[in-house]
Amino acid sequence: MEILVCIKQVPGTSKIDVDPITGVLKRDGVDSKMNPYDLFALETALRLKEQHGGTIKVISMGPPQAKDVIREAYMMGVDEGALVSDRKFAGADVLATSYTISQGVRQLGSFDLILCGKQTTDGDTAQVGPEMAEYLGIPHIANVLNIIEVNDTSILVEMDMANTIEVAEINFPCLLTVEKDIFQPRLPSYKRKLSTKDREIKIISFKDFEDQNEHRYGLAGSPTQVERIFPPSANTDRETWTGTPEELSSQIVNKLRQFKFV
């Protein structure tokens, strides 16, 4: 089985502030890590390979530093990796990102199964998986809780539908986004770190793509525009109470009584 896993490098911390005067974003530290939800997609791929054979590739998009997450995937047991990277992709929103990655996927070969994590911790949109599936012209299922069975032409999965759990069979090729905890991700292995340290990471840039229309990438290919960023508004109707625990708790009870909660 040919499996592709989509991974992303995200900031190591979500602590970010905006300077109220200059409007400049201040990110604390430059640490980055693999999007934690992607580890579940990687683990799913590794288990499928153990049972059914085949190869696992990973694809990521980002600046050259994002190679680090591909190295990490190698340490977990992934066979090949590619990074889609080009200044032309700068300023891409969800749509342009999805389109760019789908063009990159076409350069990597054909796949039976594409796996994504449920969302990223920096964007939190959960949109890239479904949008890529659309551009690749394949069906997708999101919120996959469990993989029940795999055969030559399809895969049987269990999906979370809020009030129900559905069992569905989906034909290859297809894309799945997997839930956190579908499988416990393994740790990167030091032995593999040594054995894969010289393994190539393919770089795919704009010139490699089939679609050479520059207007579909980066800022130009992004229908959404950020008009402004601002710190969340503080509620002005507020009171701050200080005092001893006794004073404070009777104040709370009085207020709750006033609102008829007690």
């Binding site: 032309k88 749509l95 949109q127 890529m132 509620n235 200080t242 404070l248």
Partner: protein
Amino acid sequence: MSKLICHQENLDESKIQELVAICPFGALEANNGTLEVTAGCKMCKLCVKKGPKGVMEFIEDAVPSVDKSLWKGIAVYVDHIEGEIHPVTLELIGKARELASVVNFPVYCIFIGCNIKDKAQELLHYGVDEVFVYDYEELKHFRIEPYTAAFADFIQKVKPSSLLVGATTIGRSLAPRVAARFRTGLTADCTTLEMKENTDLVQIRPAFGGNIMAQIICPNTRPQMATVRYKVMTAPEKQDEPSGKVTLCDLDPAKLASGINVLKVTRKEIEENISDAEVIIAVGRALKSEKDLKMIEELAQLLGAQIAGTRPLVEAGWLNAKRQIGLSGRTVKPKLIITLGISGAVQFTAGMNGSDQIFAINKDPQASIFNIAHYGIIGDIYEIVPQLIENLKRSETLACAR
């Protein structure tokens, strides 16, 4: 194509340092006295606006824009499972009516399913002008290709200016697929929506996973799409008399084909759902050990509240993931929420700041939770909560004695 240019000739060492420091994404790199823009650039243009004059320049190409006058109306996707309409749908109808009134647009619903014609009538009690129904056996279960096809058919026929979709399991899977097909923008999990006179939809959401809000527009493409979580908007009152009409739509049978076959649907056991709770006690990292949850449970019982919490508590395994409030958890809008030892990162507050009354107890007076709390109580939860439990018990006994 729009691009960012660096006028290297106007650079000196101090300007390079300044620019490297300005870029929040680390996408400007010093390289032997020159400055390089790397693929990490997000085109935020801060280097142009805030950097030294004459170094960074943004050259913008005119972008072809759609004729906005051809796209009219605000459409709401009717979220449902086997005809059971999710309440987020009504909340979105309420918001759609507000937005529509600014530009004098009609409000539409698009309802895709099987045997749903009667259910469509119900929606006419909430101020919808027209409900477009795609009713086919093949649409009984949510399967991505036929649902996308029906949605796309609706967009082509009706040309709605804006589309609102609930950020439910189905909405989060369907909306991006539709957006990609029309190469248009989709903003996930909007917390505020406003309408401009020129029919551009102003979409506000928390961004970068941190303490920042982003105001987003989609000025050159139509339809404009947004997903909104349950309990963020307010549902309108049900009207006794229905208004508007239901229109049945045909779909080419070839478009109903799918590579997905739903074999079994199991109803989950009905469990407490924090999204429906009227009173919530939310706990954060100040909780020192799992056994201290006992004290929280006692308080919750006295107030008839459900217990919820922040991501770290869920990750520690102390709380079920279904009890997590925030961007990666649930959104709640209870009548009362009491947060205990929660600092108040946007990740969390985005999931609860619509609550009617917010009480926050935290010992750090600088905690950002106090920016959104209506009643900020500065103190240690280990001192206040036991006292509060005692007070509540006493007032209960008093009430019984009366």
